[in-house]
Every structure is written in C-alpha cells, then in structure tokens.
Subunit: 203 residues, 2 copies
C-alpha cells in the first residue's frame, strides 16, 4: 500500500502558483515556499500586496505605452525633452537601461514584445499600429529603432523601417559592434563582422 | 545631466520583494515582475492569495512539528501507523519523499533545520527539545535518524544519537551508499568508501 500523504493544500497551492512563473520549476517553487513559511508573516504579506499593487496602480502611458502610475508617463510629460525624436524599444526595462546612459533626450515608444512568428507573435500583437498613428499624427524628425540585436529584434526593426519610411522621418538603428570592455578574440563572428562593416574614420 | 528616470514605485517594490527570495537576483526579479505585469490580473491575484493562505491556514503539528492544516497532522492521527517508530527528518519535504517510498509506516518528527555552527544554528533553534520530551514521554522502540547525508546532517544525527541513547530506544541511521542507477566510476570517494564499509552479505 503506497501512502496517500500529500502536502497541505495551501502549501501545494503556493508551490503550484510559483511553478507557473517562467524559469521556476517545482523544486525551486517548493524551496521558495518553505523559505516563506519559515520567514516572518510580514514577508509573505508584503510580497502578496506588492503583487496586487502592480495591477491596481499601473497602466500603459497613452502616448508611449510605457508602464506607469501616472498617465501620461513622467517621460512623456517631462519638460525639456525633444518631442521630435522617438526611440522604439521592445520592453519597459530597455527604457531604464537607455535612461541610465543619460545620452538620449527624446521620447520613447514601447512595443511590448518583438515580432516572432515561431512564438506566434505578429505585428498585430505589438503596439505597432499605435506607433504608426503617433508618427503620422505628429511627424518626428527621427525614429531610432532600439529593438534587441537578435533575430526577432532585427525582424521587428526591418518591419518598422518599411512601415515608417513613407512618413518622411529619418529612421535609424542602434549600432552593433564589439561591447566596450569586450575581447576581440572571444567575439562571435556575426558581432565581429558587424563591427568591421560599421567601422568609422579615426577622428 | 543624468536622467532621474526610475521604474514606477509599485513595479520597483515588487522587484525588491522578489529579490529578497533565496536564489532570485534583481534581474530574475525584474523578469518575473514584467511577466506578471503582462499576464492576466487573475494570475498575480492567485499568487497573492496563495501567499497569504500559507500563513493563515497552516501551523505546526503539536506532536511531530510537520506543517499541517489540521492539528495533529494526518500522519500522526492516521489509523494503523506504528506509533513505536519515529523517523527524524530535518524538513517537511523529506516526509513527502519518504512517504513516496511507501516503506515506512511509523511516525515522523520534523527538526526544521540541521545543526550548523557556521550559520549560527544550534540545537536550541531546532525542535530537538520537543523530540527529547516526546521520546521520554512515550518511549518508542526505534528512532530512525533520517537527516541529510551532509556535514550538518551527520552532526545533527550524532548529537541526537547521544541525546536519545539513554532513553533505551534502538537508534538507527539511514544508509549511505551508491545511489540506485548511479555509476561507480563517477561516485565521489566519500560515498564509495561508505558503500564499501556498509557492504552486506549477498543473500
């Protein structure tokens, strides 16, 4: 007779819910659950209210589709940013990375994904129609395509370039090349070939 | 001028809360947060209520300190289990693993950790005093020490063996040896040496 012993339903339920998250398997989920069980009650309650808050307090910015608590988002409503330059990114976290450089002073547009036929993501699933309408309504002087330097990112950039070209704005793509601090010896051939073909005059 | 752009507070808050979990760094926490942001609202709400439930609905079994929704736990209150045999484990998940074998029909005792001076865990932090009292109150015929085959688990087993010896019960330790399906060639020397010294007559 095999014993029918199971974990208490509430424990198993948390393990199941955590297992649904990407990159978290049942073993990790069980480890996290027992960690939270042993931690003070306030820890799991704070996590629970943080989870509820993200849906209650955030929405898309009506202009750039960044995730924000105020609409329009702080970037779209900021004084002194260049409204004639739109940087298109696939993800809100990309904005954080670009803002950290302090080099871009224009506005953004978040696509919330990249075209990926394999995963069934077509242009209609992204905020592409909204970008098209935005560019047509108030034509910018430049649209920077800052999707990832991956197959999906390149496909998306190519699609956007073709779509937005008739609007008359300058369409640019962020550069591919060797990462600063990288080692030429260990660079993959596609990156190295991009670095060669994008070479510039030594100034 | 470096831009002062930050993620919305509710987003950053969830990233911070998730980062406090063991094995989850800020990058994974951000990935999980944006996954939940894109998932339907019910997903994060279900996770939130699962988190609240584990603390509301569960407690320690007053007999074996297993985590349970009913006190005493289903194992301690089950008919037909051998109350004269106590298997000591460090973690409630170990009970699930042992019950899966269907080979043990006695009761358990959960220590909720193992003695680890490096991490500041002494016998007083574990359910050892309760085990001692339990064994003295109703002496079992056998106590099986099923802590992990690690330094901490062995230390804990040794400590328990010395503590419980005067109670007169037979004290046993689960066997160490080659895992079934393992490869002798790749076994580490400590395991192999255990497997050799614990060899049995071929029957």
């Amino acid at each position: 007779m095999i014993s029918q012993y199971r974990l208490p339903p509430s424990i198993q339920n948390l393990i199941d819910e955590l297992s649904k998250l990407p990159g978290i398997g049942p073993k990790t989920a069980a480890r996290l659950t027992f960690h939270l069980l042993r931690a003070p009650e306030i820890r799991s309650n704070q996590l629970a209210s943080a989870l509820t808050d993200i849906k209650l307090k955030t929405r898309f910015c009506r202009i750039c589709f960044n995730i924000t608590e105020e609409d329009p988002c702080p970037l779209c409503s900021a004084n002194g940013r260049d409204h004639g330059s739109i940087c298109v990114v696939s993800d809100p976290l990309d904005i954080v990375a670009l803002e950290r450089t302090g080099d871009f002073k224009g506005l953004y547009h978040v696509l919330h994904g990249e075209i990926s036929p394999i995963n069934g993501v077509g242009p209609e699933h992204l905020k592409i129609e909204a970008l098209h309408a935005r560019v047509q309504a108030t034509p910018p002087h430049e649209v920077i395509l800052a999707t990832n330097p991956t197959m999906e990112g390149e496909t998306t950039a190519l699609y956007l370039a073709k779509l937005l070209q008739p609007c008359g704005a300058r369409i640019t793509r962020i550069a591919r090349g060797l990462p600063v601090g990288g080692d030429l010896e260990y660079a993959d051939e596609v990156t190295l070939s991009s670095a060669l073909s994008n070479r510039r005059d030594f100034s």
